[in-house]
């Protein structure tokens, strides 16, 4: 009976891909369950993130020093998940700093991102009961939509305004050194996070969001149930992979290659 089933499966599923297909199906199920629970109101706690705590502390220090905070949510448009995470951070920073009278400055290279930042700043001042302090273009600057014209403009903006804290969270690539070096010159505390050029951010930043921590930070800030549920679903899969690794390594230590064979590589 078993061999008959095996041969039937063998006729349908390609050789060596059975486990990968099973894992994919499990991932579909886990993702959907997490989404379903999130939609029904389940909220998961997110572990403390060093970068986020540093940002909150940094706002206070900027208030003490009488210097502004500068936030840059990356060089991409709104289609990038990293930029959206950066905007979540920016929204929270603007809200908190406006409440205690610290100006939040921002720049970006994409015009659609600039529009969103401008709206966020206006809302933050209105919510803080200080709408008279808001002026379009006063806190948000645009230096061109090209990578390096933005970088040159941002560096000049930093040198002129001397922010006490520089936050770069979003989508960045090779232009990071040109901007972050200016931050180092004015002695700003730097917090950064991106996926593709994290090494360059890490070189300059005092606190970093490592890898997908930027999405965790965005979810923690917005408390968006679906975002948190996605994070939780991915965590279940990460736990599953850690489980596969631990079982596989234990068996391998006893001389059994069964998990490796099952993985089909």
């Amino acid at each position: 009976m078993i061999s008959a089933t095996d041969s039937l499966v063998g006729q349908i599923v390609k050789k060596g891909l059975g486990f990968q297909l099973t894992l994919l199906i499990i991932m579909v199920i886990l993702t959907y369950i997490a989404y379903y629970l999130g939609k029904r109101g389940r909220v998961w706690e997110i572990r403390p993130l060093e970068g986020l705590e540093a940002i909150y502390e940094g706002i206070g220090r900027c208030a003490e020093m009488g210097r502004p905070v500068m936030v840059i949510p990356g060089i991409s448009g709104l289609g990038s998940a990293e930029t959206l995470a950066g905007l979540s951070v920016l929204g929270e920073v603007t809200k908190r700093s406006t409440e205690i009278g610290v100006p939040t400055l921002a720049t970006a290279s994409s015009t659609e991102t600039i529009m969103v930042i401008e709206a966020m700043t206006r809302n933050a001042y209105t919510a803080a009961g200080k709408p008279e302090l808001y002026e379009p273009g006063k806190y948000v600057r645009w230096f061109g939509s090209d990578q390096f014209s933005y970088a040159v403009g941002a560096a000049g903006y930093i040198l002129a305004e001397k922010p006490g804290m520089l936050i770069q969270v979003g989508y960045f690539i090779a232009e990071i050194p040109a901007v972050a070096e200016a931050g180092a010159r004015v002695g700003a505390i730097q917090v950064g996070g991106t996926l593709s050029s994290m090494d360059l951010i890490a070189m300059f930043a005092d606190y970093i969001f490592i890898g997908e921590e930027i999405f965790a930070a965005a979810a923690a800030i917005t408390q968006d149930r679906i975002q948190i549920a996605t994070l939780a679903g991915q965590d279940w899969i990460r736990l599953l992979t850690i489980g596969i690794l631990v079982v596989g390594m234990t068996l391998m230590a006893t001389g059994s290659k069964v998990i490796v064979d099952l993985l089909g590589m």
Partner: protein, 211 residues
């Protein structure tokens, strides 16, 4: 001897213009940047026209197929992405591209980046106790660092009870694993960026000025 090739002169002058960035924002850098952006966009147009000619040329011959005609329509529809009002027209060809791209990325990521790495980590466990001490240490580091890194990247999982402390230590260790990787990567990046400066310097002083 100084070069007499006009292309070399153009290249050298543009290099100088771009290096004025180190002095600060200035019109020379802006000109260089505009040339850069314009040529990049113009190149994509030239490539686009050439590729359209190559791919859709058969439409004017008896070898034309209905599929080719359909993809021409879909391709033209995709251009509507730039007009906000009619962007929805582009959603049809884009949905095909996203569908195929998503499927390809899922199967390839699953095989190579996920299962491939898991299989490799497990295999490496068997090599921790064989070979030279340097190799043994290397395999030990590979396995433990990967596991610690994975534990660090759990965000909503909280282990309570007696094992919570050890897991906390693993998580802290995971953070240092990433810092080690990032530090080593910056070190290796240096040779890349400085090599690009070298090529610019060689262009200016050897090719242009003939030193």
């Amino acid at each position: 001897m100084i070069s007499t090739d006009p292309w070399v002169w153009l290249s050298a002058l543009l290099t100088i213009c771009s290096y004025t960035l180190l002095y600060g924002d200035n019109p020379l850098f802006r000109i260089a940047e505009q040339v850069f952006v314009s040529v990049a966009v113009a190149h994509s147009v030239v490539m686009g026209i050439t590729t359209v000619n190559t791919r859709f040329g058969p439409l004017l011959t008896p070898a034309a197929t209905p599929q080719l005609f359909i993809t021409l329509i879909l391709g033209l529809m995709s251009l509507f992405v730039v007009w906000r009002k009619y962007a929805w027209i582009a959603s049809i060809p884009i949905s095909i591209m996203i569908g195929v791209g998503t499927g390809l990325s899922m199967r390839a990521m699953m095989r190579t980046d996920l299962v491939g790495n898991l299989s490799t980590v497990i295999m490496e466990t068997s090599r921790i106790f064989v070979g030279s001490p340097t190799d043994q240490l290397g395999y030990f580091i590979r396995v433990t660092f990967t596991l610690a890194g994975l534990v660090y990247l759990l965000f909503t999982v909280f282990i309570r009870g007696p094992v919570s402390k050890p897991v906390g230590y693993i998580r802290t260790f995971g953070k240092y694993v990433f810092l080690t990787y990032l530090g080593l990567q910056v070190g290796n990046d240096i040779i890349m960026f400085q090599g690009l400066v070298t090529s610019a310097v060689v262009r200016l002083f050897t090719t242009w000025l003939g030193i």
